[in-house]
């Protein structure tokens, strides 16, 4: 029985019985409640005129929030699947999302204005030609988010409210910038989605990119590529960010485990080594809407400290 083979076998069997050490999680979860921030209130506004639309359907989450910020929350009669804030609108019927939007379902709600994505040309055409509906499709993805707010306010006959909201947001951005200006600048990468073999990060030249200058951080994503820039993990390694913010969470506990497993694959990343990979379910940070800067401030407090 003292044959080396038996001893080796015994060692192997014994090692399989040993409990593996539980590795420390590589990611830090930012609670969803952190980003449950309000939009700016508009004081002393002109009243909503009589000719303003009375029944609204909006299928862009950021603009659903904008409509509410402009005072039209009680006139919303339909929303898209992802519009979930403020909480009161969750009871409204959903007309689908970008993949499943149905013109007939929208028309069935008898809206007098529909706010929708500019790219869905066939749905827009069906709404305007078959159902003779008014449709506004503002640009939302690029750096024209403020222009989108004005365009929507215009179509609601409350341009002055739109201008006031934009002014407030711009002031809010400047205030947050001033607040964190003295803190050390952080090189940061914001991951929007993790696809197979690719990561989608916030690229330069978009409204979302303004997150970095607002919270005194630099975007380490290479230039070009638009708001949703695709990057390989290898290219990511070259960027060496101090902080990684992973926003690809669906909101479940399993997503956090999955994020942990994913980032564990890159132990040499400075952010992973220093435990500075933050994960969060924060759709508000990818919506160029009226709560964007308030959410950015909440993020800055987490990363820089209060």
């Amino acid at each position: 029985m003292r044959h080396p083979a038996f001893i080796l076998l015994a060692v192997i069997l014994a090692s399989t019985c040993a409990k593996p050490p539980v590795p420390r999680s590589t990611v830090r979860v930012i609670a969803a409640a952190t980003f449950d921030v309000p939009f700016p209130t508009l004081e002393a506004c002109d009243p909503i005129p009589e000719n303003a639309p009375k029944r609204l359907v909006c299928v862009i989450p950021s603009l659903t929030e904008t409509l509410c910020a402009l005072g039209f929350e009680d006139r919303l009669v339909g929303r898209d699947r992802w519009s979930d804030w403020p909480e009161s609108i969750r009871r409204l019927p959903s007309v689908g999302d970008q993949r499943t939007l149905s013109a007939e379902k929208i028309a069935d709600l008898r809206p007098d204005l529909v706010v929708m994505w500019p790219k869905l040309g066939d749905v827009r055409q069906a709404l305007t030609q078959s159902f003779k509906l008014n449709v506004v499709a503002p640009e939302t993805e690029a750096d024209s988010a403020f222009a989108g707010i004005i365009q929507v306010a215009d179509s609601l006959a409350v341009r002055s409210r739109g201008e006031k909201l934009v002014e407030k947001l711009q002031k809010e951005q400047v205030r947050i910038q001033k607040r964190f200006r003295e803190r050390p600048s952080i090189s940061m990468l914001v991951v929007l989605d993790r696809g197979q073999g690719s990561l989608y990060v916030i690229g330069d030249g978009s409204f979302l990119d303004s997150l970095f200058e607002t919270i005194h951080a630099t975007n380490v994503a290479p230039a070009g590529g638009g708001p949703w820039k695709a990057m390989s993990a290898e290219a990511l390694a070259e960027t060496k960010p101090d902080v990684i913010l992973d926003l690809s969470l669906g909101g479940g506990a399993a997503d956090v485990t999955e994020a942990d497993v994913f980032w564990r694959r890159f132990p040499h990343f400075p952010a992973v080594k220093q435990g500075r990979v933050f994960v969060a379910h924060a759709p508000v940070l990818v919506r160029p809407g009226p709560r964007f800067y308030a959410a950015a401030e909440a993020l800055a407090e987490t990363i820089h400290g209060p």
Binding site: K105, D122, G197, A230
Partner: protein, 334 residues
């Protein structure tokens, strides 16, 4: 009564039944949708009523587009199954739909609002590649065509996957929706008329060539014995099948299984004579896609692309057909 007289009477009777099925499917597609419709409002011809707009301005063009797509795909299936003499051939086996999908994926990733023209150009490009690659010494060979189609399909699919990977996530959703195959929410009347006209022209052509289709389905020798230039016929059928597929793909994306299942079901029901198969498959395909789109629009809480339903129904249906065919063959052998 002579043999042709009997066939003509049978053709009229069977085509009549197929037309009746297609008209019933059209009525269903108009009456059932993602929202409730009060049909009395529609029958009252109240142009201002929302129900009238839903049925006449929205569902009717959609149902007609579904009918044209279904007919085109079924006829494409009939043509390609004869051309490559392979029962598993479908309009998509020769790479035409991959070309259309590539054009559409490219358009969507570049932010185009309407993808129809891009899809059509893609189909055209794939047809030219397969045609050039499928020729041997100036002649089209079934095997070369099939191989060229399979390889073109694989190559174009790889490019589509690449585009999908590098596209922005918001565009990926739209690309996926298109690749699954579904009718667009709105169609301009000119593209609808153009597609309808092409299907009608090629349906007539196939009806006139149904005797040749019968001969070619048996063998090249049989077709040659019938004093037919086999190469010329192959080119003719290749162009016909490709044009029909391109018309369907441009209109509604690559709706799967219609071109495979409908010709088989038709043959199972009425036999292999293409004088009957061609018209019946056309109306059968039209009914199949109209009903699939109607179900896809109304079954789930959010409307689905029709391609999801045709695949879900067509796949199992095809397996059952294969099983029955095997049993029949075993019975004959036994």
């Amino acid at each position: 009564m002579d043999h042709d007289g009997v066939t003509l009477r049978r053709a009229v009777r069977l085509t009549g039944i197929a037309v009746l099925i297609a008209v019933s499917a059209l009525v269903c597609a108009l009456a059932v949708g993602p929202t409730h419709v009060n049909l009395s409002e529609v029958l009252a011809l109240n142009h201002q009523s929302l129900d009238y707009q839903k049925v006449v301005d929205y569902r009717l063009p959609r149902a007609l587009a579904a009918a044209i797509t279904g007919a085109a795909l079924a006829l494409g299936g009939v043509t390609f199954q004869v051309l490559v003499r392979n029962p598993l051939a479908s309009p998509f086996v020769l790479g035409v739909s991959s070309g259309g999908s590539l054009g559409a994926a490219l358009a969507l990733s570049l932010g185009a609002t309407f993808v129809g023209p891009w899809a059509f150009l893609g189909c055209l490009g794939a047809v030219v590649i397969v045609f050039l690659a499928g020729r041997r010494h100036g002649k089209l060979s079934s095997t070369s065509l099939l191989l060229a189609g399979v390889i073109t399909n694989a190559t174009l699919s790889a490019v589509i996957t690449f585009i999908n990977l590098v596209a922005a996530p918001s565009d990926r959703d739209r690309i996926l929706r298109w690749l699954v195959g579904g009718l667009p929410e709105s169609l301009d009347s000119s593209s609808l008329l153009l597609s309808a006209a092409s299907v009608l022209v090629f349906l007539t052509h196939l009806l006139l060539r149904s005797r040749e289709l019968n001969l070619m389905a048996v063998s090249d020798e049989m077709a040659a014995r019938g004093c037919i230039s086999v190469n010329r016929l192959r080119i003719e059928f290749f162009v016909t099948g490709s044009a029909l597929t391109a018309a369907a793909v441009t209109l509604a994306g690559p709706i799967p299984f219609v071109g495979l299942v409908v010709p088989h079901l038709t043959r199972l029901a009425i036999g292999p004579d293409h004088r009957l198969t061609v018209p019946v498959a056309a109306f059968g395909g039209a009914a199949f896609v109209m009903l699939a789109d109607m179900a896809a629009q109304s079954l789930w809480r959010e409307p689905l692309p029709a391609g999801v339903l045709t695949a879900a129904i067509g796949g199992p249906l095809f397996l059952i057909m294969l099983r029955n065919l095997d049993r029949e063959r075993a019975g004959l052998d036994g």
